[in-house]
């Protein structure tokens, strides 16, 4: 029993040290601990690729058994060149991303379509995409991302101004 209490005391000291580190304001964040004794950490599998899972169906990314209507709509949009749902609003000089876009705004420039296609390709690289999502959640990431969008908007505006001057 004595040994047990000594061990518990040690744990308490370690816990206390952790609490002091946290309260000292050492930069940090919570993370998701995944036990690896029983399970391998998330990541690629030998046959299942980057995600380590064989996707039978995924409405976001497709899969081995995608719904027919999704495939058809994807093919149709590819044919009409409307796959890339990015619009360039020449009046305001802003670039809008797919989310929140209406059909009236679907004026796609080849550059924007290419850029969006590259984004989609990159999104498929799941590991990198997950890192991006995590980064976006952090306060630093959110601020940097906002700044990047504002910079993009400003660049578009500059280009529009230049075109007006010609």
């Amino acid at each position: 029993m004595h040994y047990f209490q000594t061990t518990l005391n040690k744990f308490l000291w370690i816990g206390l040290a952790a609490a002091i580190l946290m309260s000292c304001g050492a930069k940090g964040k919570p993370y998701d601990y995944q036990p690896t004794a029983d399970e391998m950490k998330e990541g690629p599998g030998v046959f299942t690729g980057e995600e380590g899972e064989f996707t039978i169906y995924d409405s976001k990314k497709g899969g081995s058994f995608r719904k027919n209507h999704e495939e058809k709509s994807k093919e149709a949009s590819a044919e009409t060149g409307k796959e890339a749902p990015v619009s360039s609003d020449t009046a305001s000089g802003t670039t809008k991303v797919a989310a929140g876009q209406t059909s009236k705004e679907a004026q796609v420039t080849p550059e924007a379509a290419k850029e969006f296609q590259e984004f989609q390709e990159w999104k498929k690289e799941q590991k990198e995409f997950r890192e991006f999502q995590e980064w976006k959640k952090t306060s630093k990431g959110a601020a940097e991302y906002k700044e990047f969008l504002e910079w993009k908007e400003w660049k578009s505006y500059q280009e529009w101004k230049k075109r007006q001057g010609q």
């Binding site: 047990f4 370690i14 952790a18 930069k27 964040k29 601990y33 690896t36 990541g43 030998v46």
Partner: protein, 357 residues
């Protein structure tokens, strides 16, 4: 009892109602994953030695189906159906067993669904992890596929014997890491995360219940810390004991890591029975694809009063690719039992690999 039954029925009704009233699914996925974990185990009980070809019980071979639907911005409903299929579990063998332990064991691990809300937490129904499961097993060493606090997974079926070859007890019966209730048919609730912390509780057949708390935090440039602890009360029809345990692990940015675990069980219905207890410590280092560690474990009065069990181990794991691990581990076990002299020590070596498909 009635109160808990009503609670369970209420929770189930709520879950079904939520499923029915929520809008249609926005994102659906259904996936298959798993791994194979095979090893060669050599052991010596002081009188004899033997070699076995085994499925590593530290993380036995398995596969699973998982699926989930997102409903709106906040709700997710998912399922997990996971089974293990072992041929010769590493903790089933004793020296002298010349045949395979059985044809194959095909066992349930998880058959459950969950309803999760971003604000209100996660509710599980079915066979799966109880709240206490893995609370003694937090480990950031990277060598836990071959050695962690549940040291009996490596060679738990091997018997201690006297010099005259009289059987005393198996390794598995004299050591326990009191890691709660593993996986059972239960209802479990996890709170949402409050910063680095969240809490869980589960209720299962036999009026048994458990509660647990978990912590994980990462400091920039310093390292990661993870910890967990559980408590379960006494005098249930199924598990007539009270028990608590916990574990903590710190991984420094340099790769050095330290892990500790301890727990105790109060055998309520056995007059004169001392509390069983264990503690475990591990020091390790990991860099790149390599991880190495040494550990020590001790258990007292787990099987009967007066038992003292000690073990030390050495482990090495290499991850040449993310989906593949190769490992090797050595473990030395000793037992002192009141009234029994001349108990031989046991040595075991396990070498194998885990391949995620």
């Amino acid at each position: 009892m009635k109160k808990f039954s009503r609670l369970g029925i209420f929770a189930l009704t709520m879950a079904i109602t939520i499923l029915l009233i929520l809008p249609s699914a926005q994102a659906v996925d259904f996936k298959i994953s798993g791994h194979i974990n095979r090893a060669v185990l050599w052991a010596d009980n002081g009188n004899d030695n033997d070699t076995f070809f085994v499925d590593n019980e530290n993380s036995n071979s398995r596969w699973r189906f998982t699926g989930s639907n997102d409903f709106g911005e906040a709700w997710t409903v998912g399922i997990t159906w996971e089974v293990e299929m072992e041929s010769n579990s590493s903790d089933d063998f004793d020296i002298g067993d010349n045949n395979d332990t059985s044809d194959v064991s095909f066992t349930e691990r998880k058959i459950e669904f969950y309803v999760q809300h971003k604000t209100f937490g996660k509710l599980y129904m079915g066979q799966g992890d109880t709240a206490s499961n893995s609370t003694s097993e937090v480990d950031l060493s990277g060598t836990d596929v071959v050695e962690y606090s549940d040291i009996v997974d490596m060679a738990g079926g091997i018997n201690f014997r006297t010099g005259d070859d009289v059987i005393v007890a198996t390794i598995g019966s004299v050591y326990s890491n009191y890691d709660g209730f593993s996986r059972r048919d239960r209802i479990r609730y996890d709170t949402p995360k409050f910063g680095p912390v969240y809490f869980s509780a589960s209720y299962m057949n036999g009026q048994t219940w458990d509660t647990a708390g978990r912590f994980s935090y990462e400091w920039e440039g310093i390292g990661k810390l993870a910890a967990a602890a559980h408590y379960t009360g006494a005098e249930t029809q199924r598990d007539n004991f009270s028990q608590y345990s916990g574990s903590i692990s710190f991984l420094h940015s340099s790769g050095f890591n330290i892990t500790g675990a301890a727990g105790t069980r109060d055998f309520n219905d056995e007059p004169g029975r001392d509390d069983g207890m264990f503690y475990y410590g591990k020091l390790g280092f990991r860099r790149g694809i390599h991880a190495v560690s040494v550990d020590y474990g001790r258990a007292e009065d787990v099987d009967q009063n007066g038992d003292d069990f000690d073990t030390i181990g050495l482990a090495y794991v290499i991850n040449p690719w993310e989906s593949i691990q190769f490992y090797g581990g050595y473990r030395y076990h000793t037992l002192d039992r009141r009234g029994v002299n001349n108990i031989e020590d046991i040595s075991a070596v396990m070498i194998g690999g885990r391949v995620k498909f």
